[in-house]
Amino acid sequence: MSVVSRGFRGRRRDADADPARVPPGQFVTHDFPVLSAGTTPHTPLDKWTFSIENGGVRRTWTWKEFSALPTESVTVDIHCVTRWSKLDTTWEGVSVDTLLDEVEQDAGYVLAFCDGGYTTNLPLEDVTGGKAWVVYTYEGEPLDPEHGGPARLLVPHLYFWKSAKWVRGLRLLDEDEPGFWETYGYHMYGDPWREQRYTGD
């Protein structure tokens, strides 16, 4: 079912963007909008840690240890569920593969947890195999707190709420369990190419 809106033509303002890179329902922005549900946390680096929780076992890195891990620089397109997409964003950080190499595990899912209590859930196979990073620079500069600094998850093939800001660790799980927005009706998986914005999409 569809209704034509009288007099609406649209601006088709993304004509310069490669349509093959813009998922359905998205528009290209050149800003970097900020979306978060609460206050912006400011955790000092000497108090910051990153942990992988695996059952009762926890592997933890201090900021010093974490920032000494090998990094990768990636240039990717990102897609926010609120409909903006941003092309060719460049980030640097640690591949989740590098972190998981240090633990013995056979989990099916992860729950990313963050300062401020935010969480988001992902299948393990979506954060392994060179698909996800914990990044701490954006366009060559330290990641701004508004955008998730000191470090955020980057999972560019899913809607950007999965790329949790202020990430402090990953909890390995056997069963999928909804995170923050997923509890409020957003999609458990969030593939922008299938427009999985909300539950049931």
Partner: protein
């Protein structure tokens, strides 16, 4: 808690414009009739989808400005370089139709049972979900104390001006003030919040909505005053696409 959670698929419904109200030179309210509308909670938003004759579509999200139990209302600020907002604020007239789906969002919401006291802070069109909260409070005869801090550029930019006269509102006009203005005339900072926001001892619940810079400074100021971060709910906008 998850009462606003979406269960099952959100379907697109036809929305017919029943009335338009010009709030300011750049802002227009659209009262909608949506058969099958499932109802909403104060603070939620809705997705709007416009379809051109050749099938081209554009979608955007807008906060709902009406209380639970009332028909859905959206209030749209025109962004001159926008794609959807110029249509909704200039072209649309009563009888026109487009599609909506929702309501969406279960976090930035207030129900009378959630209590307070409520401190609402709005920048520009960030006042839209606050209107839903204020109306819900009145309609439900809630005794919860509420105060709205509302930042606008000029007096002409104040949305819902008459309706807000009946509420406890503290205005600040950041760009220009009318002759004889005795209210605040600056951007919101921690000192201003200290004067206006409920004291921490009252256990206030804060809602903050507006442009990113506004939300960041208000939320940080409230934390500085001792507000618990978990009692500060925020909604930011700042994209070029609305």
């Amino acid at each position: 808690m998850a009462g606003a959670t979406l269960h099952g698929r959100l379907t697109w419904r036809v929305a017919t414009v029943k009335a338009v109200v010009d709030e300011t030179p750049r802002v227009r309210t659209l009262e909608l009739e949506v058969p099958g509308w499932p109802g909403h909670v104060a603070g939620q938003h809705v997705d709007v989808r416009l379809t051109a004759e050749d099938g081209y579509r554009a979608e955007r999200a807008y906060s709902l400005g009406s209380a639970p139990g009332e028909p859905p209302v959206i209030t749209v600020e025109r962004l001159e370089d926008g794609e959807v907002s110029p249509y909704l604020t200039r072209e649309v007239r009563p009888g026109d139709a487009f599609e909506v789906r929702g309501p969406i969002g279960g976090y930035f919401v207030w129900r009378a049972d959630d209590g307070g006291p409520l401190f609402l802070a709005a920048g520009g069109s960030g006042v839209v979900p606050m209107r839903a909260i204020l109306r819900h409070r009145r309609n439900s005869m809630s005794m919860v104390k509420v105060r709205l801090l509302y930042s606008s550029r000029t007096i002409e930019d104040v949305i819902y001006r008459e309706e807000l006269d009946g509420e406890e509102v503290v205005h600040t006009l950041t760009r220009a003030q009318p002759p004889g203005w005795t209210g605040y005339a600056r951007r919101v900072d921690t000192d201003l919040l200290r004067e206006v926001a409920w004291s921490v001892g009252e256990g206030p619940l804060a809602f903050v909505c507006g442009p990113t810079s506004f939300v960041e400074s208000v939320a940080a100021g409230l934390v500085e005053l001792g507000y618990a971060p978990r009692r500060i709910k925020t909604e930011r906008f700042g994209t070029t696409g609305r």
